[in-house]
């Protein structure tokens, strides 16, 4: 785990690039099917789980337990009228959903779903391809996908979509930065940026445990990156109708929807690969029968189990937290997450260097503990910030229900004394005037 993996192979990762064409075709098809089926499943899953959290039943009419609801919705969406607004910029407007959805299918290509298996007698890995910079590749693909949202917002030719597009641009620039920084710790410890290499390095201990701050930062930024609640400001329905998607309908809207749900799976898969041991079974199971459950097709179960766990976290967040205000959201990214990530990376780099220099882990823990203790004791010596002594509240003045111009009831302990109805006089005047005219 600690020694840097020697990359003797240069720019190719060992074990890839030797598949026959039909294996590649099967893998491509499998990734496409996984993306679409998981989207259909996740929509129903999300609606069911949120419904349970809100003491409802959720969809339960179409198919067994409502499981075909999203399929029915999808078919309905395809047959709806496709509207292109008069003020829209046609080419960009039509290209936007394609730009959003195509990159989202690409990311699973570099995610290892399992170890070496045999397909029709051919030994191959359960991963389409890998490269020395696979994790950066996922970041690049995600940043292309965001162009779709931004183009949709601009080309719709109306106010709310433009605001949604602007928000999405600002949000993605900020949170992608933080996301990239959270990867750095993993790169430093794994010594490689290839996804299969990172999974191999996590054989003993998951990076989610030893790099816990990186993991937490990634979890937060992945919610921001996918525009999900509580960070769904680009499409905040309470403020912007539907944000960048306001003018879209029919199959174009369905494509955006598809892209959003596939992206949820993508970021969860990246989190699984980088921090949760990839396809490896969790600890007690991995020890059974000399690692039997880490071979063959079993790892698919662990991989998708971890992905679904993270999807559940997405749904849980949506069912629990209210949406952030926009300025708070940006403050949180630039003034909290970013400095914390930078400090943490410096700490990780220091640890890494110490390990490379041959310092024992016990020593690092000892000296790190001493440093933290000194900081804690030092913080006790800092004098407490003196709040200016508030003037003793004088005897509460007589309660006037109309002091603020708007009638309010008395607070506990206040006496309701005088009744003054300021508006009454004018009303009576009106009435007398009217009756005299009559």
């Amino acid at each position: 785990m600690i020694a840097i993996a020697a990359e003797t192979t240069g720019d190719e990762v060992a074990g890839f690039g030797n598949d026959p064409w039909w294996i590649i075709a099967i893998k491509c098809l499998a990734i496409f099917v996984i993306c679409v089926v998981l989207t259909l499943f996740n929509i129903v899953f999300e609606r069911k789980v949120v419904a349970r959290m809100q003491h409802r039943l959720g969809p339960n009419r179409t198919g067994p337990f409502g499981s075909l609801q999203s399929l029915a919705d999808g078919v309905k969406l395809m047959f709806k009228e496709d509207i292109v607004p008069k003020a829209a910029d046609k080419i960009v407007y039509i290209a936007a959903p394609l730009v959003a959805v195509i990159p989202s299918f690409l990311i699973l290509a570099v995610i290892p779903l399992g170890p070496e298996v045999s397909i029709f007698g051919q030994e191959t890995r359960l991963q389409l391809t890998d490269m020395p910079v696979a994790v950066l590749f996922t970041l690049a693909i995600a940043s292309v996908g965001v162009y779709g949202l931004m183009m949709a917002g601009w080309s719709s030719g109306s106010t709310y979509p433009l605001l949604g597009g602007l928000r999405s641009t600002a949000q993605v620039i900020s949170y992608e930065l933080v996301m990239g920084l959270s990867f750095v710790g993993v790169f430093l410890f794994a010594g490689t940026m290839s996804t299969s290499g990172i999974v191999a390095e996590q054989e003993r201990l998951w990076y989610g445990i030893i790099l816990l701050p990186s993991f937490v930062i990634y979890l937060i930024s992945m919610v921001g990156e996918t525009n999900r609640a509580p960070f769904d400001l680009p499409e905040a329905e309470g403020e912007l109708v539907a944000g960048w998607g306001t003018e879209y309908s029919s199959i174009k809207y369905a494509m955006f929807f598809l892209a959003e749900y596939i992206n949820m799976v993508n970021v969860s898969a990246i989190a699984t690969t980088l921090f949760l041991g990839g396809w490896r079974a969790p600890w007690p199971i991995s020890a059974i029968n000399d690692g039997m459950f880490n071979t063959g097709w079993w790892p698919l179960l662990w991989f998708f189990g971890k992905v679904m766990l993270l999807i559940f976290v997405f749904v849980w967040l949506r069912g629990t937290l209210p949406r952030l205000r926009y300025d708070q959201f940006m403050h949180f990214c630039w003034k909290v997450l970013l400095p914390v990530s930078l400090v943490w990376i410096v700490a990780v780099a220091g640890m890494r260097l110490a390990f490379n220099e041959g310092v024992e882990r016990n020593q690092i823990l000892l000296y790190g503990g001493i440093a933290v203790a000194v900081l804690l004791i030092g913080s006790l010596l800092i004098p407490e910030k003196k709040t200016p002594a508030e003037p003793e509240p004088a005897e509460p003045p007589e309660f006037d229900a109309f002091a603020g111009g708007h009638p309010v009831p008395p607070m506990p302990g206040q006496e309701f004394v005088a009744v003054r109805i300021p508006a009454a006089t004018t009303q009576t005047d009106d009435r007398t005037e009217e009756s005299s005219r009559a």
Binding site: G10, D11, V133, L136, L139, S143, W154, L166, G405
Partner: protein, 274 residues
């Protein structure tokens, strides 16, 4: 073979993107064309066995810098197209001269360059792969230049922040303070915010004024910006204009109920009759 096919597909896209940047009228179209060119270039890098460079090209240039450009363009104006008026005198002549000079310079360099007979190959240039080779170049050979560029960029960022910095004299009002102020200072009726736009059988957009209980349109219900741009419907369109039949009906209603209070509008008497 695959590389040649990739080249002949992506190269026209890269060139078209570059031409689109120069010739498109709308700034956003230009920016999107440039993004297409950048992605094509990244694919070329990857095809030339420089995956790190290609991926970083997309992450940094397409994903961050171009996004920032687009952000600014969209903030400035949704459909502002370039005007063809020359703002600085002699600019076009100077630009033409400068471009010709650069083209001549580059052409001269390209023609005079001597290429080795046999390329050394990637295995010799980067024996440990892309990433270590680039890291070695940046943090080894050119570390001084790299640090200087970093210092320059930080200076630029700090300078921009200093130029745009504004010292607050009083603390910014919080949401709570604004709410208290709205109740204590304004009319209580306005405390809940402005009225929403009108919803009718044929109109329900933000450009449509709502009707007040007395049938007059509410000016507050339409955004001031829309009114200033002339994008809102006229409030007059939705004002209740009594037709001759209405007046007749109102007169009949009065005749039917001589004892009733003569209301100022026919709606009140109509209600009573119903």
């Amino acid at each position: 073979m695959g590389e040649a096919a990739l080249f002949w597909i992506m190269a026209p896209i890269a060139v078209l993107g570059a031409l689109g940047l120069v010739f498109s009228r709308k700034a956003v179209h230009g920016a999107l064309s440039l993004a297409a060119t950048m992605i094509s270039l990244a694919l070329f890098y990857i095809a030339q066995e420089a995956p790190f460079l290609g991926v970083v090209q997309i992450v940094v240039y397409t994903g961050a810098i171009m996004m920032l450009f687009l952000f600014v363009i969209m903030l400035i104006g949704i459909d502002s197209s370039d005007s063809r008026v020359e703002t600085i005198r002699g600019q076009r002549v100077a630009a033409t001269l400068a471009v010709t000079g650069v083209v001549l310079l580059l052409a001269g360099v390209t023609i005079r360059a001597t290429l080795p007979e046999e390329p050394a190959g990637l295995a010799q240039a980067t024996p440990d792969g892309n990433v270590p080779a680039i890291a070695d170049a940046i943090f080894g050979t050119y570390v001084w230049a790299f640090e200087v560029v970093a210092a320059l960029l930080i200076t630029a960022a700090v300078g921009a922040m200093t130029l745009t910095h504004r010292e607050r004299i009083v603390a910014k009002a919080t949401q709570r303070e604004l709410s208290i102020k709205r109740f204590s200072e304004g009319a209580p009726g306005d405390a809940a915010g402005l009225p929403v736009p009108g919803v009718y059988a044929r109109h329900n957009a933000v450009d449509t004024p709502a009707l007040l209980p007395d049938g007059t349109p509410s000016e507050d219900s339409v955004n001031r910006v829309l009114v200033a741009r002339g994008a809102a419907r006229s409030t007059d369109e939705f004002r209740h204009h009594p037709t001759p039949a209405d007046i007749e009906a109102a007169a009949e209603g009065d005749a039917d109920e001589p004892a009733g209070e003569p209301g100022p509008d026919d709606d009140a008497s109509g209600g009573e009759r119903a």
